[in-house]
Symmetry: C2
Subunit: 378 residues, 2 copies
Amino acid sequence: MKFLHTGDWHIGKKIKGYALLEEQEDAFQQVLAISEKHAVDAVVIAGDLYDRSVPSVEAIELFNEMIQTINLKKQLPLLAVSGNHDSAVRLEAGGPWYQATHFHLNTRLSQAFQPVIIEKTQFFLLPYFEPFEARQYFNDDTIKTIQIAMERVVEEMTKSFLPDYQQVLVAHFFAAGSERSDSETSVTVGGLDNVSVSLLEDHFDYVALGHLHNRHALKNETVKYSGTLLKYSLSEVNQTKGVWIVTMEDGQVSVAFESIQPLRDVSIVEGSFSELLSPEVYQQVNRDDYIGIRLTDREVIPNVMNQLSSVYPKIIQLERVNGREHQTVSNMSQEELQQQDPLTLFTKFFEEMTDGPMSQVQADYLLATIQSANKEEN
Amino acid sequence: MKFLHTGDWHIGKKIKGYALLEEQEDAFQQVLAISEKHAVDAVVIAGDLYDRSVPSVEAIELFNEMIQTINLKKQLPLLAVSGNHDSAVRLEAGGPWYQATHFHLNTRLSQAFQPVIIEKTQFFLLPYFEPFEARQYFNDDTIKTIQIAMERVVEEMTKSFLPDYQQVLVAHFFAAGSERSDSETSVTVGGLDNVSVSLLEDHFDYVALGHLHNRHALKNETVKYSGTLLKYSLSEVNQTKGVWIVTMEDGQVSVAFESIQPLRDVSIVEGSFSELLSPEVYQQVNRDDYIGIRLTDREVIPNVMNQLSSVYPKIIQLERVNGREHQTVSNMSQEELQQQDPLTLFTKFFEEMTDGPMSQVQADYLLATIQSANKEEN
């Protein structure tokens, strides 16, 4: 049997206020086309279906359309788990009804031990969970970390393993040794959230992971992150996004990658202010992308953001790669900071943040505010 | 055939901060028992399933349990529409899957014209909608009011009427001539939201309405509001809540009422402060109720709310039925108000709102704030 492994759709995701619904809809159509091209037997989504626990109405509409298309229109089995960005309860509303058409959406730990069987493969669908849920489920207070929890979870799952069947785990967590991107939410700090890869590869023929945005976050043949549907931060700018096509055959597993071409890409443009505004440069750039600008100039440029936006309408970051001429607030020492008067300090901070000087109106307002605050103190 | 007509569940409703989930769960169990006692063929919920468009996780959990119990566990057909308190999109997530088990949840006007047929009865499930949706659906800009929209909607529905069948409309709106309660949300003002009862009774054998909280809001034999599951405001204190059992037989309709006993009631206690605190009085009262207190005293009583709460833990209103000794802010004339200094005015307002005098700390803080504000003005 053959299935498509995707995850981290983050439907409703915004980058710096730009909603990506159109890009997500387009990427979904590509996922659908890939699933048809390979005639897969199932689509697996490894968590973070939505970007927020309370998604917008627009995000819900798009997601509803997606699951209806896959499962009702294309009649493909759909196996999914909730991720740390999803609200398990909000997501599970239709859960018991979905199963009739082979849409299995697990949102609770307790659902993970009853595998879904397709041909000769058992799929264990493990939603994102916290150690306290495992403590409750196993009635064992010694379960303090996800690693300990996963040892128990895997042990429990193996009890249902059928001989002559292959086993796939679908899960959403941080596997030890993975590389992170900027746009992921760190679930817990201090290593408590790590699950060792050996535990996974020892027991399952394939592990379809979600959580990390880079499909190469783990260097492993059979334990894989799908990566996100699209680039969701500038740190992912050099990643090719897509899905895995996993083939389970005669006890063997093979994995192939299919890429997704974004409707609008996330990219970085670097140069001096004058270069960036010159047609020779910007005509080489896909200006409809979500663009991070790396400015090489060091001097203050009045109104820089407005000027750049007139050429690059969707700027998601503006970085000064060579630093600035003037000393900025953020790299002053504690001592230096204390020696500055509030007016100077705030003015520097304002210029650093907006990349331009204050207008006279703004400066007057700041002065009046500081004077009024001083008056109240006295 | 026989069905149970309920509505306005408002799952997740709070009265003055008190969540009613336990009371709602209890009332639901009674609805279930009534449906079994009468061996109904279907349960009809006429909108406002939830109290808010974005319900809490707890409300969603309770509602999910309810619909699963009715439709999956008890295997009863469930016919429901969204009301003005519901988010159509959030509610409809599982919609296409629900239908396989005869759970019909309509959230869009366009779904209302395909009736659900049970035995010899056609149910038209019309969700709450706004005139603009009817303008779009019928592609007719002249539809400015719900009455005009409903004329078109009913006309459209009659095209699907089958001879020898009876027709039931399930809907959620304000029918002309109904009486309102305090806890309803007025959908629009100025009469634009009225639907004439004659339009309804002329075309349907029974109209199962939701929206108004009083089941007697309309005096009509076959066009009825179910009323809420529970009393949701003090204005409903004298209403008996429950459900209608509607029997459709040989072209005839008969309606019977079944009451619901609240786990905790909403009630009013009236008396002087000393009476209310005397055991002879409060031992006659079910003090676990949500209580509106009608205080007969006219004088200022320090710390009145705290003292009453020690006896009546769930006070949802405190009213001075005989007015007060002191002139209050709210009944001063514009001229009188202008003559008061801010300190006096705010002190009166504070005492009126909290039903007690200011503490010294509060009075000091008020004075300092007023002085500081005056300083800034000068």
